[in-house]
Subunit: 202 residues, 2 copies
C-alpha cells in the first residue's frame, strides 16, 4: 500500500548510525550510543549488522554508490562543456545536500584504505573520460582558454565538495544554521558554474 516511511527496525538503526557516525566519526562512535539513539538493545545492532565495520559500510557505502552514480550520469546527456558543468555541479549539490556527511566520509575512507574504494572510483571512469573529451572539444572550438582538463576537473570537484567538508568551519564563522547552510548550497548551484565558466571562457 502507500509506502508510508516504513519504520522498520533496520531503518531506524541506519538512521541513528548515520547521525552518530557523521558526528563522531568511525573511531569516535560507540556502538552503545548508536543503540541508544535507535532505541534498541546493543545486541540487536550485531544481529542486523555483524560488526561495527559492516554497520559503517552499511550506512555510507550504499548511498555513496547510488548518489555518485547519478551525479556522474548527469554528464551523459550533455554534448557541450558549459551545460555539462552546470549539470554536474547541480546534480552534485542537490544530491549531496541530502546526505551532507558523504564527502568527508569518502575522503576518510580513501585515506584509510585507498584500495578499498578503488572499484567505486573506477565506476565514474567513463563519465570522467567523457568530461575530459568535452573539455578538449570546447578547447578545439576556441570556446575556452588553454587549461589542463584534469586540473579543471579538480577545481570543479573542489568547489562542489569543500563546503560540505568544511561545513562546521563555515557554520562557526558565519554563524550559519542548518537551513542557512542548505540555502547557501542551493545558491551555489548557480554561482559555482558561473564562477567556473567566467574563468575558462575564451
Amino acid at each position: 500500500m502507500a509506502p508510508v516511511k516504513e519504520e522498520t527496525t533496520e531503518l531506524r538503526i541506519l538512521e541513528a548510525a548515520r547521525e552518530v557516525f557523521t558526528r563522531k566519526g568511525m573511531a569516535g562512535t560507540r556502538m552503545q550510543e548508536v543503540a541508544d539513539a535507535a532505541g534498541i538493545n546493543k545486541a540487536l545492532l550485531h544481529y542486523y549488522f555483524r560488526d561495527k565495520q559492516r554497520l559503517f559500510e552499511g550506512v555510507f557505502k550504499g548511498s555513496a554508490e547510488k548518489q555518485f552514480g547519478c551525479i556522474w550520469d548527469s554528464l551523459q546527456q550533455c554534448d557541450s562543456l558549459f551545460p555539462a558543468i552546470e549539470a554536474f555541479v547541480g546534480a552534485y549539490l542537490e544530491r549531496v545536500i541530502e546526505e551532507p556527511g558523504l564527502p568527508l566520509f569518502l575522503a576518510n575512507e580513501m585515506s584509510r584504505d585507498p584500495e578499498g574504494l578503488a572499484a567505486f572510483i573506477d565506476r565514474g571512469q567513463g563519465s570522467r573520460a567523457r568530461f575530459l573529451k568535452l573539455v578538449e572539444e570546447a578547447r578545439a572550438r576556441g570556446e575556452i582558454i588553454d587549461i589542463d582538463p584534469r586540473e579543471l576537473l579538480v577545481n570543479i570537484m573542489a568547489l562542489c565538495a569543500h563546503p560540505f567538508i568544511a561545513r562546521p568551519m563555515l557554520a562557526h564563522i558565519h554563524g550559519i544554521t542548518e537551513e542557512g547552510f542548505r540555502r547557501m548550497i542551493l545558491k551555489r548551484r548557480k554561482t559555482v558554474p558561473e564562477f567556473i565558466i567566467r574563468s575558462i571562457r575564451a
Copy 2:
C-alpha cells in the same frame, strides 16, 4: 653551539604525536601507538603531557596554529585584492604541502568537536575581516565584478584545501606519485590565483 635540531624527548613525543594524531584523529589515536612511535614508555607520555587531551592541545598549538597563523598573516602585508589572493594561496600551498594531512585532520576534528577548535578558528578572524575589506574595496574601485565576498573566500579555501583532502582519490585516478603530487601542488601556486582572478576580474 649551532642549534643542531635539539633531540629532546619532549620534541620526539610532539613529533610522533603529531604524525599519529593527523593520521588517525583524536579518537582513533592510541597513547601506546604514540609512545611506540616516539620510542618511549607509555608512562613517559603522561609524565610530559598529563593526559591525551593535553597532548592533543600541545601538538595542535605547535603545529596547526603556527601553520595557519603564518598563512593568515600573509594577508597582512598586502594592500590590494589580487596580490592578497596570490599571497594567501601561495602561503597555503607551500606550508600545507609540508604537512599534507592537516586539512583532512582539521575537517574531521571540526566535525567531531566544533567547540574544541572554535578558538583556533577565531584566531584567523582578523585576517578574514581584512580579506573581506579588500574585496569590498576592489569592488568599489570597479576592479572586480559583483560577488559575495564570503562566497569568494569559500571558493579560495576550496581550491586550496581540496587537493590535499582528495589526495588518495587523485592519486588513484591519475596514478600520481608522492613527487608528482608535490609538483601538482606547487604548480597550483600559479594556476589557482589565475583561475580565481580570471573569474572575478571586472
